[in-house]
């Protein structure tokens, strides 16, 4: 016993920490809703011009928009996750304290970030999505199994998102100022996750490439599961493979970084 409980406590801590900012959460809900409103109209115009674009009908495209707004902060696609804090701890050297803690660095931050993501999903995601579903024509499954599969895909998306951002944060061990890297990473994930535009709308080879990259696990994959556009098991396999690969890469980089700290004397 012990370790499982420890990480659960860390996750609960991550959840609680974000739950205290009520006004900020309300403000976020409002902003996500406004952006959703603007994007819905542009998507409707696009699908008006080309019905069945990317295999979606209009209702599916609208659903996709609200899903994106609901998952934007959950998956920290444009920043707002743990990475800034970890980079700051690396920069100031406080990370040495984390390394001496009787817990695994990667799992520690993963647990905290999952707690945060879960709060963002409930606190910031549900309301804009509900608003969109009430005001516009959306395509939602009636089958609880699809909803369950969707939630699994979201969870896997959270892990993949963490895996990428963990690598980004660890770059601070080698780079003096990691903010540039973090910003580039956010832009990249905005573009490649499907937040900018559904990946199945991307033309030709570009579309094939972005759909194979890990970022597509974040928004595109859960969306396609919910919209019935993808086979859940195949999607889980794709997401899981990327999650494992990224977490393993994170471990490798982490051990290299740790050696560096030890050599430098902390």
């Amino acid at each position: 016993m012990g370790t499982g409980r420890l990480y659960a406590a860390v996750a609960v801590g991550g959840f609680r920490r974000y739950a205290t900012y009520r006004a900020a959460t309300a403000a976020g809900v409002f902003t996500n809703t406004v952006f959703g409103l603007i994007l819905v109209y542009t998507y409707l115009a696009l699908w008006d011009e080309r019905p069945q674009l990317g295999g979606y009908d209009q209702a599916q495209a609208v659903t996709y928009v609200w899903l994106g707004q609901a998952l934007l902060s959950t998956l920290a696609i444009g920043g707002g996750g743990f990475e800034t804090e970890l980079m700051e701890r690396i920069r100031t050297g406080d990370v040495a304290i984390d390394l001496y803690r009787p817990a695994d660095l990667q799992l520690w931050w993963l647990a905290g970030d999952l707690g945060r993501a879960l709060f963002q999903l409930l606190g910031r995601g549900v309301l804009p999505f509900a608003f969109g579903a009430l005001v516009f024509d959306v395509a939602l499954p009636s089958d609880p199994a699809t909803w369950g599969a969707f939630l699994v895909a979201v969870l896997l998306g959270m892990v993949v998102s963490f895996g990428i951002r963990y690598l980004v944060a660890l770059s601070a061990f080698w780079l003096l100022d990691g903010t540039g890297v973090a910003q580039m990473a956010w832009l990249l994930s905005f573009f490649c996750s499907g937040m900018l535009l559904p990946l199945n709308v991307f033309p030709g080879v570009l579309g094939e490439i972005v759909r194979a990259l890990p970022w597509s696990s974040m928004l595109q994959a859960p969306a396609d599961v919910l919209l019935g556009q993808a086979d859940p098991l195949g999607t889980f396999l794709f997401q899981g493979a990327w999650a494992v690969a990224l977490l393993a890469a994170g471990r490798l980089v982490q051990s290299a970084a740790t050696r560096r700290v030890v050599v430098q004397g902390g």
Binding site: V34, I38, A45, L46, G180, Q183, L187, V201, P203
Partner: protein, 279 residues
């Protein structure tokens, strides 16, 4: 003590502008001390802004028109919205930090200085890197002007700079009003994003794309339509979704002045609340 009349008011505006200039000059000087970092952040700013346009390009890889507008026409709207918003963001974009200043109490340090608080807050952390956004908007606008076949008249030529400056002023008013709101709700700085970043995103697309209610809202309630939709419709010779007379295209300066006046009042009310509640 009876000197808080008209002379005092214009004096305060002059004082404010002078203080704004002084503080901005200092930030520019300090930015230039780290030139490499300035170039990097400006490029980052450019890239982040350009993403919106990439989305539009991706859309046009699959369609030929959106809401009846062609790519150069949308680029025209996009460029106007980008430059106007970029100028406002460059000038007073740091105002969304006001809530934080109220929370940590550093607003008090601005209140004991002999210049208007608004000028100090507006100039605080002046970020020259935001030129990246202006440059990106200008580039797209240049592309639009080069590819569009506009039937130029002297009025249309004159309307271009007038529209850009009025648009920037309207967005400045939104920034100030948003900051004033943060006197009341200190943690709600993100609400402002809905109107600033959300506003500029909205204006990047043609009005024909949006629902009539939304278009009415941004024409008559929060008059963002005067930034580019109305004057650009005139320049492009396209009908505006709402039935408005043509001279409305020339009213952006008036709308800008009205917006700035209202935002100024909101700011005063906010500051007054702060000074009576201290939080």
């Amino acid at each position: 003590m009876g000197d808080i009349g008209h002379v005092g008011q214009t004096g305060r505006v002059a004082d404010g502008l002078r203080a704004y200039r002084l503080i901005v000059a200092m930030w520019i000087k300090s930015t230039m001390a780290y030139r490499a970092s300035f170039v990097m952040t400006t490029v980052g700013n450019f890239a982040a802004t350009a993403l919106d346009f990439v989305a539009i390009l991706l859309m046009f890889s699959r369609v030929d028109a959106l809401g009846g507008y062609t790519l150069p026409e949308i680029a025209f709207l996009y460029g106007l919205s980008g430059v106007a918003f970029g100028l406002a963001d460059l000038a007073i974009g740091s105002m969304d930090r006001l809530g934080r200043r109220v929370r940590d109490g550093t607003l008090d340090t601005l209140l004991v200085r002999p210049v208007p608080v608004l000028a100090q807050v507006a100039a605080d952390r002046f970020g020259l890197r935001r030129l990246g956004r202006v440059a990106q908007g200008a580039l797209v606008l240049g592309y639009a002007l080069a590819t569009l076949d506009i039937d130029w008249t002297p009025q249309k030529v004159l309307l271009m700079p007038v529209m850009l400056l009025s648009g920037a002023a309207i967005f400045c008013a939104v920034f100030v009003a948003g900051a004033a709101f943060q006197f009341v709700a200190q943690d709600a700085s993100e609400v402002q994003n809905a109107f600033t970043y959300g506003g500029t995103t909205l204006l990047q697309y043609p009005p024909t794309v949006f629902g009539k209610e939304l278009v009415r809202g941004v024409t008559f309630v929060l008059p963002l339509a005067f930034v580019n939709w109305l004057p650009a419709s005139y320049i492009l010779g396209r009908p505006y979704p709402l039935d408005l007379p043509q001279w409305v295209a020339f009213t952006p300066p008036l709308v800008a002045v009205a917006c700035c006046a209202l935002a100024g009042l909101a700011w005063r009310a906010g500051l007054k609340t702060y000074r009576s509640t201290g939080s």
